[in-house]
Amino acid sequence: MGEYTLTRSEKRFIGWHLFVAIAALSIGSFYGPMQAFNYAGWNFYPTLRKWHIAQNYYQGLTLHGVLNAVVWTTFFITGFLTFNVIYGLRRPLKYPKLNALGFWMMVVGVLLASYAILANQASVLYTFYPPMKASWIFYLGLVLLVVGSWIEGYGFYFTLYEWKKQNPGVRTPFIAFASVATMVLWQLATLGVAIEALFMLLPWSLGWLEGIDVQVARTFFWWFGHPLVYFWLLPAYISWYGYLPRQAGGKLFSDTMARLAFWLFILLSVPVGFHHQFVDPGVAPAWKYIHALLTLSVVIPSMMTLFTVVASLEYAGIKRGGKGLLGWLAKLPWDDPVVAAQLLAGLLFIFGGIGGVVNASYNTNLILHNTAWVPGHFHLTVSTAVTLTFMGISYWLVPYLTGRELCCRKVALAQVYLWATGMAIFSQAMHSLGLLGAPRRTPLGEAPYVPPEWSGLLLRVGIGGIFLLTSVYMYVWIMAHTAFFGRKAEKPVEVQVAEPMRDVQLTPAWLDSWKPWIAGAVGLILIAYTPVLIDLLSHMVPVDAPKMKLW
């Protein structure tokens, strides 16, 4: 197959996604180190207040959560998936205008939500738990962001449908298949938060409802909240399965197992939300236990992913001359920022996965729920496995889209290692603090109850923050420098999509058919949620926000 290239306008469209993503990261990830420094006792918030950068810790934390975990992720993902659909199917989008409409809706949504936060009308954190009430502008912004992403997803569906009509019996290329599958997961997931926002939060914030039931709202939120993390993670998996083997010099070990893993993630990532509600009073223990079991079942596709990715890398390392049981590991291109970012992301993700099992294990959750352990955990997952992988992707994708060379490869390499080191230090200390009982979402540098024994760990959080502050702005600088001032590349970047070891046509057809899997996912959601929701909805206790402003 010959090279396929995207048109200029397609490149620009995807580039806009990355631009918004990186702009959001450059603001959102400023506050993370500020939080870490507060823990360590270096409190910059008085200065930030004077400079009107943040009124207080919580406004900063809201910006941090929303801009990083919602905006950076969603825009990078929709951009990357758009690339995968077009490049994977080797055809343009069926309705490019539809996708553009979705994108601009998302942008308007982000602007509205950001305005509400910056105007100090929405310091409700990125989970916006009621009955804290933000300005309706904040909720409207989130609704537009979600609906815009749905529309981009519909654009993918139409495109895939068209491609399938023209290519009967041909297996959908993996990167395109997996991208559309990720969108399907997202649409199942966001149904929960859409119900919460459209039927509860938005009308309530506009004064049309006097109160809402908080337990019901939490339940719809977490219907969304857990698959949200798979929406972040699956695009990183697309890169680990679909690109990394080739970038490391090898092939994808098993296309079949890669697809099966994706389907299992789609089946198992929604009907599990109660693992965020183990300590909620309103859900019966038996249902919490059922959700714990379903959650733990993701062990299977996760271990499959570990196997396939490691096997693909082992093959690459052996081809590069690695000998013995682990010799292949040393032969991998650890000096290539694109590869190193993903290898380090995967390595730290192993600890994220182990921690995740502890979180999900029903009663062990009692020890860590709402403690610093939890941000310790997800800075290994979304902020490292996902974010560092996205950084690695942008080191080839941005040169591809702009036709410019990656500036300063060495700086990029250092950036990647700094991030992994910083996160390792930061996250280890956060986990330990959590086990001692330190609460999350709290400026621990100011909390009167913090005992002196915690100070060593709090200091380590701050030290991790120094590494990360440096790393994140190195990244932003490299991106800006490449995109706007980079040297024009002499030859275009080669897109390194991994070939599977066996002919893709040998992948069974049932792994390339959508209806049974989606029906199964919907069925599981109905089983896992209907009885509890009927119970909750038939005993609602509507509650309004206090009159006083809380932040």
Binding site: P281, P285, M303, T308, H369, G437, T442, V541
Partner: protein
């Protein structure tokens, strides 16, 4: 070779079986810990209107109630912006203490350090959870859910005293 074995690599099949065994053992162990050994998650006691807590005989005077001297106690605890009511709780060591926790306004968290007591405090809902403090000492409890500007200062203490010294709470 069967069609099956060409689909899944031999080693991978073994790896998946090991993973499944691991999964089964997790499921069984946490099930035993929870349902046989009693390391349990909080449950729902009842629903209440948070606006009417003062009219409720139990909630108008939150605090400790002695059910069986030295053996069984219950604690009614209200979380509100930005304090716990009461802030100080005294119970004897070795007694089973059942906590009933609710919120007067927004969400809070109730976590007692060095124990597995942890509940999301949700207005409208009363969470129920129990614990036996074996060792005398001071156990801090902390609000673990963001509840506004005063959140970081919201805490209290449970004083667990030797049974012979116990003369009631407050």
């Amino acid at each position: 070779m069967t069609a099956h074995s060409t689909l899944i690599d031999r080693h991978e099949r073994r790896w998946i079986l090991i993973s499944a065994a691991l999964l089964a053992s997790f499921a069984v162990l946490i099930g035993i810990a929870g349902f046989a050994l009693g390391v349990q998650v909080p449950t729902l006691d009842r629903r209440v209107d948070p606006k009417k807590l003062n009219e409720d005989p139990m909630w108008s005077k939150p605090g400790v109630r002695e059910l069986v001297p030295g053996r069984k106690y219950e604690v009614y605890l209200i979380a509100q912006t930005w304090q716990f009511v009461p802030r100080e709780i005294v119970v004897p060591a070795g007694a089973k203490v059942t906590f009933y926790v609710t919120s007067r306004d927004i969400q809070h968290g109730f976590k007692v350090l060095d124990t597995d007591l942890n509940v999301q405090v949700i207005p409208g809902y009363v969470g129920k959870l129990s614990y036996t403090f074996k060792e005398p000492g001071e156990y801090k409890f902390i609000c673990t859910e963001y509840c506004g500007l005063g959140h970081a200062a919201m805490s209290g203490v449970i004083k667990v005293v030797p049974p012979e010294e116990y003369t009631g709470s407050q």
